[in-house]
Symmetry: C2
Subunit: 192 residues, 2 copies
DNA sequence: GAAAATTTACCGACCGGTCGTTAGGTAAAG
DNA sequence: CTTTACCTAACGACCGGTCGGTAAATTTTC
C-alpha cells in the first residue's frame, strides 16, 4: 500500500470533488482511507490543512506545467497556443483537483486564501503578458487585457466541470478546439 | 417591509453566495432576516427546499430572458449576438443567483436535480441550434457543436465568478467584448 | 356589526445526531 | 527506549428540524 498520507489526500480529492468540501466529513475520508478518523490528524493538522495542501500542490503543479510548456517556444501566437494547450490539458487531466481549486476557495483561512490567490495571480499574469505583447505586435486585436485573460482562463477551467474522461472526445481534441477558438477570438477577425 | 418569504430568499442568496450553501446555517439566515430560525420553516419546508426555490426561479428567469431577447431578431449571426448579450447580461446583473445555480447543484435532492438539469439542457439546446444552423449556412466554422456551446455558455457564466458591480467596466462593455470574442471564435479565422 | 372561529406569522425551547477535534493508550519498528 | 502510526473513547459545539404555544389579523357566523 502506498503511504497513508497520499492515500488520505487522494481519497479527499475524490470526495471533495464528488460531494464538496463542507459536505465531506472527516469520517467519510477516514472510511474511504480504511483508517479511523482520529488517525487523519496524525498526518494533517486539520480538515482545512488537508484542503490547503490539495489547493497548494495543484496550483504549484499548474504553474510548473505552464512554464515547462512555454520553454523554447518562440513567437507570441505560438506561445499563446502552447499556453492554452497546457492550461486545457492540465485542467482535464487533473480534473478533480482543479475543480476543487476553483470551487472550494471559501473553505480555507484568510491567510491561506491569500497564498493561493497570489499563486493564481502570478499564473494569470503570464497569460496577460502574452495578450498584451500580442496586441502591441498587432497580432491580436486591441481589447481589454484583463477581461480577455479571464475569458481564456475561465473558459478552459470550466472544462473541468463538464469533462468526462470516457466521453466522446479526447483531451487532445478538446484542447485543439479550444486553442483555435481562442486564437480566433484574440485576433477578432476584421472588427466591424 | 417586503414580505418575509422574499426577505428570507434574498438573505439566503447573499449568504449562499458569500459562504456557500453547506457553510450557511439556518440560524445564519434567520439572523440575517431578523427572525427566529423556527420561523424559516413556516415559509420553506426545508433548507434544501429553499435552495431549490432559488435555483428554479433563476433558471426560469434565465430562459425567459433569452427567449425575449431572441424575439424578432433575424439572421443567425445577429441571433447569436443577441443570445450572447442576453446570457452575459443576465449572469452579471443577477450574479449571486447565477453563481449559486452553477456551484450548489450538489445541495439538492436527486429529483430536484433532474428538474434543474432539464431546464439547463433546454436552455443549452437553443445555443446549440444556433451554432448548428450557423455552420450549415456557412456563417460559422464547422466544429463540434456541443463543445462550442459549452465553451460559450461557461465562458459567460464564469463572468459571475469574477465580476464586480463597481468594477472598471460596465455590464454593457463586458457583454460587447464577449460578443465579439465569441463571434470571432465561431467564425474560426475564416477571415484570416 | 359584534362575537366566534379560523388562519397567519411568528416565537422559545428542545431533540437526536453529527461535526471537527483531542486525550490517552498501544503495538510494532528502528 | 524512542519514534512511528495507528487505535478507542470521548468532548463540546453546532447542525437541521420539530414542538406546542400565541398574538394579531382575517374570515365566518349569527
Amino acid at each position: 500500500m502506498a503511504d497513508m498520507k497520499e492515500t488520505i489526500k487522494s481519497v479527499s480529492i475524490d470526495l471533495f470533488f464528488k460531494k464538496g468540501y463542507f459536505a465531506t466529513s472527516i469520517s467519510d475520508i477516514a472510511k474511504g482511507s480504511g483508517i479511523q478518523k482520529a488517525s487523519i490528524y496524525y498526518h494533517y493538522a486539520s480538515k482545512e490543512d488537508l484542503l490547503f495542501h490539495i489547493l497548494k500542490s495543484t496550483m504549484d503543479d499548474l504553474t510548473t506545467c505552464l512554464k515547462k510548456s512555454l520553454e523554447a517556444v518562440e513567437g507570441i501566437e505560438q506561445r499563446m497556443r502552447a499556453a492554452v494547450q497546457s492550461h486545457v490539458r492540465f485542467h482535464l487531466e487533473r480534473q478533480k483537483e482543479n475543480f476543487i481549486a476553483n470551487s472550494e476557495l471559501r473553505g480555507i483561512t484568510a491567510e491561506h486564501y491569500r497564498t493561493i490567490v497570489k499563486k493564481r495571480d502570478a499564473y494569470e499574469v503570464i497569460f496577460q503578458d502574452l495578450i498584451r505583447v500580442g496586441a502591441e505586435e498587432g497580432i491580436f486585436a486591441d481589447v481589454d487585457v484583463k477581461i480577455l485573460s479571464y475569458a481564456i482562463l475561465t473558459l478552459c477551467t470550466a472544462g473541468a466541470t463538464w469533462y468526462k474522461s470516457n466521453g466522446r472526445l479526447t483531451v487532445a481534441q478538446i484542447a485543439d478546439i479550444y486553442e483555435n477558438f481562442i486564437i480566433s477570438g484574440l485576433k477578432q477577425g476584421s472588427l466591424s
